[in-house]
């Protein structure tokens, strides 16, 4: 055979091979194998109920492949098709919002196909979520801190839940790297907020932010130090119940969780905003008991709180709080009788952090094995008390890890809480839909633009409080109020003056939650 014929044959074979290859490729493209299970994705956005106004739930597909196709659809509207060479799936915001808005109360299907290196597609089972009818409050205020006591970077942040916008409300670098304590809102309204801060340089102001103005408060009386730990607004907005705790940290030698917290003393008081008067009552500030975590009933007639006998530190494992309440008449200032609502024995552990749903129907609280400080416990469950029936139960959404710092949305249909369920170490904000009968549905983590955001985040996001709109106060206003507090109340004779902003690390030190 001559050389030219050989070349010709080669060219013909090559030309024939091209369509053949294309055909094989097309066959593979069209050949999709169903695998009979949903794709593994993280965060876990499967079988969850989501608000119709939530930001896109971007996710990472934990299936190996070279191409990824995701189709997000519902009853009405065009499906969202995403083609990606990476397993990180970022959903377009505008189309997502449109799809959710058009399908309130409907199912949301997520179909995932993955192409492997050989060119074969794998079709996974549809992931089905539900779009709730009720929206969630648009903003979340939360605290971002590192894992331990040296708070070089701690801030109160707010996040728009309808997109990924995040902003700093107050960062501790603006006041000597002090501690930003709990933030509390009146009826989910950011126009009425209290926030506690503390630092060796500026003292322990309680910052009251009302209608765009911030003023420092110093609720000190003969019985109280002026330092506030937890606060609860009376529904009228005229009164705040406050606690004064003396937390100390202890270290375990071999328990799964290193740190533990013991409360050496805790009492409750009321702080009237109009007269700036501290109201004490012996029934809620007994020396032989710790009264903690105040919460007002929605009609404002009862102050609920947690209470346990005051024990010496070595009996820290025996601290178990009951849920109590006491009547209070705002107009006359008359106190009612002290009542036990639920005992620790009945709850199956120490009761902490009671929070009423805005409609007043449910009381959500934590139950831990012991202590009045649930945050450092390996396990902490969410429990619900139905005020109408008096029945209480552990919520099925509670994980084997720590779920705490819960709050309600203003329509009583959503709860936000910090949970360590992802890795047992770092708290992340989770949301759960609570239906009319108080059944909480599978929670989902706060969505982020980067689906792998939580994989490497070494900060704790806690105290998630749902609010209806952004906090209308600038960081500078908070800082000015802190400085102003120092001038007004934080004298040279204060014991804080000689203290360090960096707490010691051994047991017996002041612990700031």
């Amino acid at each position: 055979m001559s050389k030219s014929i050989k070349y010709l044959a080669l060219v013909i074979l090559s030309l024939a091979a091209l369509p053949l290859s294309a055909w094989i490729y097309a066959q593979r493209e069209s050949e999709t194998q169903s695998i009979g299970r949903p794709a593994k994705i993280r965060p876990d956005y499967c079988d969850v109920v989501i608000p119709p106004n939530i930001a896109p739930l971007n996710f990472f597909i934990e299936e190996s492949g070279v191409k990824y196709e995701v189709s997000i659809s519902s009853t009405t509207g065009d499906p969202i098709e995403i083609h990606s060479r990476k397993p990180s799936i970022e959903i377009p915001l505008r189309r997502w919002k449109k799809l959710l808005a058009a399908n309130r109360g409907e199912k949301l299907q997520v179909d995932i196909r993955v192409k492997d290196e050989q060119g074969y597609w794998t079709q996974f089972d549809t992931i089905e979520n539900t779009i709730a009818e009720e929206a969630i409050d648009s903003y979340l205020a939360y605290r971002q801190i590192s894992l331990c006591l040296i708070w070089r970077d701690m801030g109160l942040y707010q996040r728009n839940l309808e997109n990924y916008d995040e902003s700093v409300v107050l960062h501790n670098r603006s006041f000597g790297y002090g501690c930003i304590n709990c933030h509390t809102f009146l009826n989910n309204d950011p126009n009425h907020m209290v926030l506690q801060t503390r630092s060796s340089e500026y003292g322990t102001p309680m910052l009251l932010a009302e209608n765009g103005k911030v003023s420092p408060k110093h609720p000190k009386s003969a019985q109280t130090s002026g330092k506030v730990n937890f606060a609860a607004w009376h529904p009228s907005g005229k009164l705040i119940a406050i606690t004064d705790n003396k937390y100390t940290m202890m270290l375990h030698t071999t328990a799964p969780e290193v740190r533990d917290v013991f409360d050496q003393a805790c009492d409750l008081d009321l702080y009237r905003l109009d007269t700036e008067e501290v109201i004490s009552n012996s029934q809620i500030s007994r020396p032989d008991r710790m009264e903690n975590f105040p919460e007002w009933s929605r009609d404002g007639r009862y102050l609920y709180f947690c209470s346990a006998p005051q024990l010496p530190p070595e009996r820290y494992r025996e601290v178990r709080c009951d849920l109590m309440r006491i009547g209070y008449d705002l107009e006359s200032g008359a106190w009612g009788e002290l009542e036990t609502v639920l005992t620790a024995d009945d709850a199956g552990g120490s009761i902490n952090q009671p929070r009423f749903s805005p409609d007043g129907r449910f009381l959500l609280f934590n139950v831990v094995e012991y202590s009045d400080f649930p945050v450092d416990k390996v396990n902490c469950d969410l429990h619900m008390l139905d005020i109408e029936t008096g029945a209480h139960r552990r919520l099925s959404i509670s994980s084997e890890r720590n779920d705490s710092w819960h709050s309600w949305s203003s329509n009583s249909r959503w709860i936000a809480f910090s949970s360590r369920r992802i890795d047992g170490r770092f708290s992340r904000p989770f949301f759960s839909y609570v239906d009319a009968i108080g059944e909480a549905h599978k929670p989902f983590v706060l969505p982020q633009k980067d689906p792998e955001y939580y994989d490497t985040l070494l900060w704790v996001l806690q105290v998630p409080e749902l609010i209806k709109s952004p906090i209308p106060v600038k960081e500078k206003q908070f800082t000015s109020a802190i400085v102003s507090y120092k001038k007004q109340f934080f004298g040279a004779d204060s014991p804080w003056k000689s203290g360090s902003s960096e707490p010691a690390s051994r047991s017996g030190v002041q612990y700031q939650q």
Binding site: L147, T253, T254, I422, G424, R425, T456, L458
Partner: protein, 634 residues
């Protein structure tokens, strides 16, 4: 063609000395300054907001003046982990400073005095020889010089335009490199006044420069008025109310050098301008002055051939002379400890002066001795102090130890982990991480701790973070892969060994060495540290009581220090030292007798016997038990 070739040759020959200088600078930086020592100290993580590989930590931070350069410095500093990369960055920064200074001086002096451009290189070398980094500050100054260069070369004559350009550049420098803001304004004002002789523009720029912080700080960054001005200061003694983490814990020497560099440039510009004015008065203006500006020929002057070697001696000799050897040793010891390079650590620790010994030194040396199997033999060959072996002291912050407690926690967490005090190790590592925000060494320790504690999910979070760090990527990935296959690490021998050291019963408080030995009698580290503690606190009776534990390990002979303690104990109690399975060496007994003879010769006066005793037995427990110090034998 020939002319062009000649010109090229001329330019090349002029560039050779400069290239030689910078090559030498790079080599000096790489081989002598060793930037990896800075990287592995905790300083970079404290001085700057953390650069977490793969995580936009700066994106979360609110905007603050100087954020761009701070971010760049944090990023570049991460490359210091390789000494050659660090040296390249240091060289590039120094070159930028010298080039910018050269351009400015040249413009001001009419192409003369460019030799002064090398001063910043000297300052940079001195800074690093003091074992600290000034990357952020140096880059800020270089940025200011770069903008000034652009301004001087811009062919804009109208005053109004020049003012507008100045205003724009001022905002840029305030936004990006606030540390050099004042310097930037000063250089512009000097340039306008003395080079362009435009006094009106100069005054206008000065006024505008003073107002920009108020406008930019308040309007762009929402800073308080005072704060807007405070952050333009070259040195800000407090960080409490600033929106930037500035020179909070800068060393005194470093501060002087930094301020010198800051002040040097305007002074050099002024000198150049005055020199030029004086020259103009005495000599007629050369016709090709602009050429002189563009192509300064000063480097071809013959006298420079003599100056050049002198310059090299001044630059590199100065850096060698100014080196903070104490700090370098400290950094090296810390580096070797982190990399578990025990022989190198012990070699480095041999000639540390007693006055420079602190808890960190003792802790690292004792750990190195333990890992080399020499703790109970050779511990008294090094300076020791009771309690310091386990860092039982808080480090007082000082220029040398600005991070006191954080440093302690970082080092201690590793030792605790090895001892089996895993919870204490976790607590220390978490504390250090909280303070530093990104501390790869601590993060790896936390990952291992969580693996030991069978918390694979938490370990994954730490390891995924480390996977984005090129220095820890492979190690982190290997552990992640292993976690996938065996979440409890049941087949990993090292993890199993550590688990075997853990206490069974939980309690509140400190986990003692005795308790660790009670749990696992083969915990060699706990045994050696317990014995070391008894030795350092002169509890010879406790050593005699616990010497039976030697049988739980594979010591070929009684370690020297224990043997000496047993001899002393026998002498005190008038008994015969007996250790089952071992014999007290005749050498120890003979040495004890020799010690007694020294005392006898000196009338049993310890002070009188000190020198002879130290010379012969300064590395022994005999000496320590009398004088309470060790490591004095030459």
């Amino acid at each position: 063609m020939q002319r062009a070739l000649r010109e090229m040759c001329r330019r090349t020959s002029r560039a050779i000395p400069s290239l030689f200088f910078w090559a030498l600078f790079f080599l000096f930086g790489c081989l002598y300054l060793d930037p990896k020592l800075i990287h592995y100290s905790l300083f970079p993580y404290w001085r700057l907001p953390p650069y977490v590989p793969g995580v936009d930590t700066f994106g979360i931070l609110p905007d603050f003046p100087g954020k761009a350069i701070t971010r760049l410095a944090a990023f570049l500093l991460h490359a210091y982990s390789d000494s050659w990369a660090g040296a390249l960055i240091i060289t590039a920064t120094a070159w930028l400073l010298c080039w910018g200074a050269g351009q400015f001086i040249s413009v001001m002096s009419g192409g003369r005095l460019r030799i002064l451009r090398f001063i910043p290189a000297i300052v940079v070398l001195l800074q690093y020889s003091r074992c600290d980094h000034y990357l952020m500050e140096n880059l800020s100054i270089a940025s200011a010089l770069l903008l000034l260069f652009c301004y001087t070369r811009a062919p804009i004559q109208r005053r109004a335009y020049r003012i507008i350009i100045f205003l724009s550049l001022s905002v840029v420098i305030y936004y990006a490199a606030v540390f050099a803001y004042l310097l930037f304004v000063a250089l512009f004002v000097i340039y306008e006044a003395l080079r362009r002789r435009d006094w009106i523009n100069s005054v206008a720029q000065l006024a505008a420069g003073l107002l920009i912080p108020a406008a930019a700080g308040v309007l762009i960054f929402d800073l308080a008025f005072i704060e807007a001005y405070r952050c333009v200061l070259p040195y800000n003694p407090t960080i409490a109310n600033t929106h930037t983490i500035v020179l909070s814990i800068i060393g005194y020497d470093g501060l002087v050098l930094y301020l010198f560099l800051y002040a040097y440039l305007p002074l050099a510009g002024l000198s150049g301008a005055l020199w030029r004015i004086n020259r103009d008065k005495t000599k007629p203006q050369p016709e090709d002055e602009e050429d002189a500006d563009q192509n300064p020929t000063d480097t071809s002057q013959p006298w420079l051939m003599l100056i050049a070697p002198l310059l090299l001696i001044i630059v590199f000799g100065g850096a060698l002379f100014a080196t903070d050897q104490t700090e370098r040793k400290r950094l090296r010891i810390s580096y070797y400890a982190q990399h578990e390079m025990w022989p190198e650590l012990l070699h480095e620790a041999r000639d540390v002066a007693s006055k420079d010994v602190d808890a960190s030194y003792c802790h690292n040396v004792d750990r190195a001795l333990h890992h080399s199997g020499r703790l109970l033999d050779d511990m008294f060959a090094f300076p020791q102090k009771a309690g310091w072996e386990l860092y039982d002291t808080d480090m007082t912050p000082s220029p040398y130890r600005p991070l006191g407690k954080i440093e302690r926690n970082t080092e201690l967490s590793e030792c605790y982990y090895e001892l089996g005090r895993v919870n204490d190790a976790e607590h220390c590592a978490l504390d250090a991480l909280s303070a530093l925000q990104y501390n790869p060494r601590g993060i790896m320790r936390l990952a291992l701790i969580n693996i030991v504690k069978k918390r694979p999910d938490a370990a994954r979070t730490f390891l995924r973070t480390l996977r984005k760090d090129r220095l820890y990527r492979d190690e982190a990935q290997a552990l992640l892969d292993q976690l996938e296959q065996d979440p409890d690490f049941t087949t990993d021998q090292q993890i199993q060994q550590t688990r075997a050291l853990l206490l069974d019963d939980d309690s509140i408080g400190e986990c003692s060495l005795e308790a660790l030995l009670q749990k696992n009698k083969h915990n060699r580290m706990a045994f050696e540290y317990l014995m070391a503690h008894y030795l350092l606190t002169n509890q010879t009776d406790a050593i005699a009581r616990n010497i039976r534990r030697l049988a739980d390990f594979d010591y070929p002979a009684i370690p020297r220090a224990l043997e000496e303690a047993l001899v002393i104990h026998a002498f005190k109690t008038n008994s015969k030292p007996v250790v089952q399975g071992y014999t007290i060496s005749q050498e120890s007994i003979a040495q004890f007798q020799a010690c007694n003879e020294i005392f006898a010769r000196n009338g049993y006066n310890p002070q009188a016997a000190y020198h002879e005793f130290a010379e012969k037995f300064g590395d022994s427990y005999f000496f320590y038990s009398i004088y309470g110090i060790s490591g004095v034998k030459q």
